[in-house]
Symmetry: C2
């Protein structure tokens, strides 16, 4: 796509500012195009105080999102929009602003210095603006893809929403720079899949796993750990749905919550309710890692497919559960009490299939490493045909949900299904992935994996701010590349992941030594992280590491549980060959378009209910 | 740029076919916009019989080319256009065709199967169509860049012109497929630089170096070698201009011509006039390699800048000259006689500066190699700051012309001037380079090279049809990457080229051995070509070779003549660092454009001169 030069754009935008004065549109007359009742099923607070609230819905047919922005206390205006990773520069924005006299609404964009410009194409369409008892309500809509290169393309996966508050009037839109405003970001999955909600069994019961009216610490980040247990003699049940319970008033503080089942190997677990990083936390709680339920901001209830449920309770499973709540408290609010948690809906009438969770991607091993100062380094983990051939039932499995996972430098994650060497479909993809926003996402369409299929999981990392290589591992400063896929029927295969063959990595260090003379000692007796730490990261050593990961045989973990492998030879396996790639979706945008004249809309904000 | 889907395009094109019937434009009325007298200074025959002749001119101000296509015997129509490398598929075309009733002219394109479609934007504008005693003359124009993604972008350097002859009427344009036609290609430099022609000295004399009325062999390719000599006692002169002499009727057969001076080390050279590959050719003629003049199809006279001339004659230079004429005779025409050659214009009044020729790029060495089955592998040769610092005069040199050179797999060549690590300007660039069309090209703008500057020459190769690595060398199946730059004032520096450091290449072979186990023997006692021949070309060995060439130190040839180096340490030199790249020229095309309705023009071909 070609972007007009700033001067053309500025001229167009100035022209727009002038004509707008004559362009009074009575937006109230457009009300009829607002969607019908309960029109905005999804909701997030944008700011930590919750004074800006976004609701939205998604029309797959029209490929359009309708937004409602509720501004509790309008000052001189507000801006809202989207950007690649939540920055206020190079953002796609709608701006409501006043010059002190009139109030305007316009599709705008910010440049790399945060300076705002009116967009030459007005793709956000204002449908209604009115004062309500809760505040100013703005309803507007936008296509997923506006075909305007200045606009954000709304894709599946994470979307970084941004907002800003205008405290005073601005004579023109171009006088606004986002750097001078109170701004922030919020991550959501905007394009929720439209899946029919399965009916719940008549004998559905509920169980609430909640924090016991705790005091939220007045600090930026708290992970709260709370141990609870199933009733004595609780038999095997199927979880068929779960939903968040968020204490009223804390909507902007509760960032995500997960319920884990503890390991069956221990008879009992100690009681505990406190920060997960507390010195007082019993070590045994680290054995409570089997995910039962997970929720993150903006998500709604999670329904299992009608034919499957997640087994819990009964013989061979632990009675102990760990609830983990992530409180995100940037304003360091003190004294707020909270009883948030998750409500499990379960049935004793077991469904036809047990659901299972399988781990795809990379083994947690330092042999997979990312050089420092890379903006987009890709690591790839494989679940090979040999493993799926051995471990999957003849009719295959059906993946219905997925949770992507990396540590701090992860920027994109994707899993692709490969059959007979051909990429068939995307299992899950997030091109705006953030490690700070990991939720279990229902897939738009279930993906069936047959015995002999290959699953390729690739993660893209940004290590621009690192000085040393980032190696794979459990530590928060180490990296992971994982896709937890939720599927049925459950199989014994819990983990289908890979690493590069360690022997080939030794050859790499040997080569680094040979090519760099006596200066470097990546001594063979040193550990892999130590060896990576001494590599001089010139272009050759970077390129060769990349080439190695794209070529060397792999070591497979095709495991029943994290320690028990399926029988077979799993070392020095050939890298799966991919002979044909999925085509990028072709854009619906025309090669050339009418340049519609730029304008913004003068808004009449009527009082009352009209 | 986005291309509309074929269905949209087809619909538009069908629409065009319908409306055209009502769109009778009297093209004769447009005559006034045809350019003034001698309007088409450049000329090439398109087909081997010369029955299609193209003339053209270039307006740098309007960034437009005016074409005149002369069709000696019009059958049912003709097509003409341009494509990336001369293929008739994916070509940008103008088509003159008849449905038996009316004759049409339209801007069209061919898809990857050769099927012709009317273009949704008509960017070729017909200015005049009339019958003349020589045949049908069509005059039309086109901007260099039409902003239509279906159109060819006319750039500096080689343009591959294509043509086709329609033998019978077609009911619609879409019924034409180029695969069923008599077609062909011709290479030219379309955008000749508009440089004022320097005045010739009053005492200019001419000397014609021509073949002696020879019989052109009835075979596809002949390189004819003809030895001639300067008059006895011919003193030092300056060549100030030279021009082609092409025997009338042979315009389509004479492909290129060069005049070489023989080496001064030999007192005398034997007489010879015959094919250069003849067994009868005396071996000593291989010592006649110093270029004095070179011409290729479509080129006009070559003028030296007013302040410089190319010295020949006099003490210390050979009296013997070798003329080489390349006859391209695809129809294997027999019995054609030829006396083509080059007319040198020279003066005894020596100009202020001697002109010189310097060789930039890669040393002819097998250490630089291209893996097989590569579509665009790049090799780069350097003329380093250390060499220019030592060898260039304090005020630098001025490059005014350039001849690019590779062997058969070369596809692009570019030389960039780098100063203080920053790319400053392009010396010469050809993105549609063909080894079959090597001409000396005047630069649009002289390039001054200062002591301490770096000259970076990169060649892009296509080895898709090769099974083994292609190594550097003199052989026609080996490769070169050379830019012969013509400059003044002449210096001692004849050759400023590089190769990768051979020690680092040895490490590469060592690494290939280590990574491929016992299977491969790239034995150290083998020659470099032998070692390259045994490399298994997996992705790793390709990637690492590419990484090596982009990283390893270089060995410099900073030479006075091909065997004598300037004094200094030239081995294991650091690769010049480039900290900032030249920006790609930004397109003038708007981000979005009006979609003008598609149509072609009904043509009235009047008789006579009107």
């Amino acid at each position: 796509m070609q972007v007009p030069s700033p001067s053309t754009r500025e001229a167009a935008s100035m022209y727009g500012t002038v004509v707008a004065i004559f362009l009074v549109i009575l937006v109230a007359t457009l009300q009829s195009s607002a969607p019908p009742e309960n029109p905005f099923p999804y909701q997030v607070p944008l700011d930590p105080e919750g004074s800006l609230e976004l609701s939205w819905n998604v029309s797959d047919a029209q490929k359009t999102v309708h937004f409602q922005l509720l501004v509790q206390e309008l000052k001189a205006g507000v801006l809202f929009g989207m950007s690649d990773r939540g920055e206020l520069e190079n953002a796609d924005l709608v701006v409501l602003w006043t010059d002190g006299d009139r109030t305007y609404f316009g599709d705008a964009w910010s440049d790399q210095r945060g300076q705002i410009h009116l967009d030459s194409r007005q793709d956000y369409q204002l449908l209604r603006a009115r004062r309500t008892p809760e505040g100013l309500s703005l309803i507007f809509k936008r296509p997923f893809d506006t075909c305007d290169p200045k606009d954000y393309l709304i894709e599946d996966g994470t979307v970084h929403l941004v907002y800003g508050v205008l405290e005073e009037p601005f004579r023109t839109l171009e006088a606004i720079n986002t750097s001078g405003l109170q701004t922030g970001l919020q991550r959501v999955q905007l394009l929720k899949p439209s899946i029919p909600i399965p009916a719940l069994p008549v004998d559905t019961h509920t169980m609430e796993i909640r924090t016991p009216d705790i005091l939220i610490p007045g600090q930026l980040t708290t992970y709260w750990c709370h141990i609870t247990e199933l009733p004595d003699g609780f038999s095997r049940h199927h979880i068929v749905m779960y939903e968040p319970i968020v204490t009223k008033g804390n909507e902007a503080l509760v960032h995500h919550m997960e319920v884990f089942q503890c390991a069956a190997q221990f008879e009992t677990f100690p009681q505990f309710s406190g920060p997960c990083d507390s010195k007082m936390k019993p070590g045994r709680l680290n054995y409570c890692r089997h995910v039962l339920a997970a929720w993150a901001l903006g998500a709604k209830a999670f329904y299992y497919p009608e034919e499957a449920g997640l087994a819990f309770g009964g013989h061979g499973s632990s009675r102990f559960l760990r609830l983990e709540v992530h409180y995100h408290n940037p304003l360091k609010i003190q004294g707020r009490r909270d009883s948030s948690g998750i409500r499990l809906h379960y049935t004793a009438t077991l469904r036809r299939f047990d659901a299972g969770i399988m781990e795809l991607g990379l083994v947690y091993s330092p042999v997979m490493a990312i050089p420092p100062r890379e903006t987009a380094f890709v690591l790839t983990g494989y679940c090979t045909d040999k493993c799926t051939q051995l471990a999957l039932p003849p009719l295959g499995i059906h993946i219905f949900a997925s949770q992507l996972h990396t540590h701090l430098t992860g920027r994109k994650v994707v899993t692709v299904l490969v059959r007979d060497g051909r990429e068939m479909e995307i299992v899950n993809r997030d091109d705006h992935y953030s490690p700070h926003f990991q939720e279990i996402r229902m897939l738009k369409k279930m993906v069936s994996v047959h015995p002999g299929d290959v699953l390729v999981t690739s993660c893209t990392y940004n290590t621009e701010d690192r000085e040393l290589a980032t190696v794979g591992g459990f530590g928060i400063l180490e990296e992971m590349c994982v896709n937890y896929v939720h599927y049925y029927p459950q199989t014994q295969l819990e983990l289908c992941k890979s690493t590069v063959d360690p022997g080939f990595l030794r050859e790499y260090f040997h080569l680094v030594n040979r090519f760099n003379g006596e200066e470097v000692c990546t001594c063979p007796q040193a550990s892999v992280p130590e060896q990576f730490a001494t590599v001089p990261w010139n272009s050759f050593n970077r390129d060769v590491l990349r080439a190695l990961y794209g070529f060397a045989p792999i070591s497979m973990h095709c495991n029943k549980s994290s320690a028990v492998r399926f029988q077979g030879e799993w070392n020095r396996q050939p890298l799966p060959e991919i002979i044909s790639k999925l085509e990028e979706p072709t854009s619906h945008c025309p090669a050339s378009q009418d340049q519609s004249p730029s304008s913004h809309t003068v808004v009449n904000i009527g009082g009352g209910k009209g």
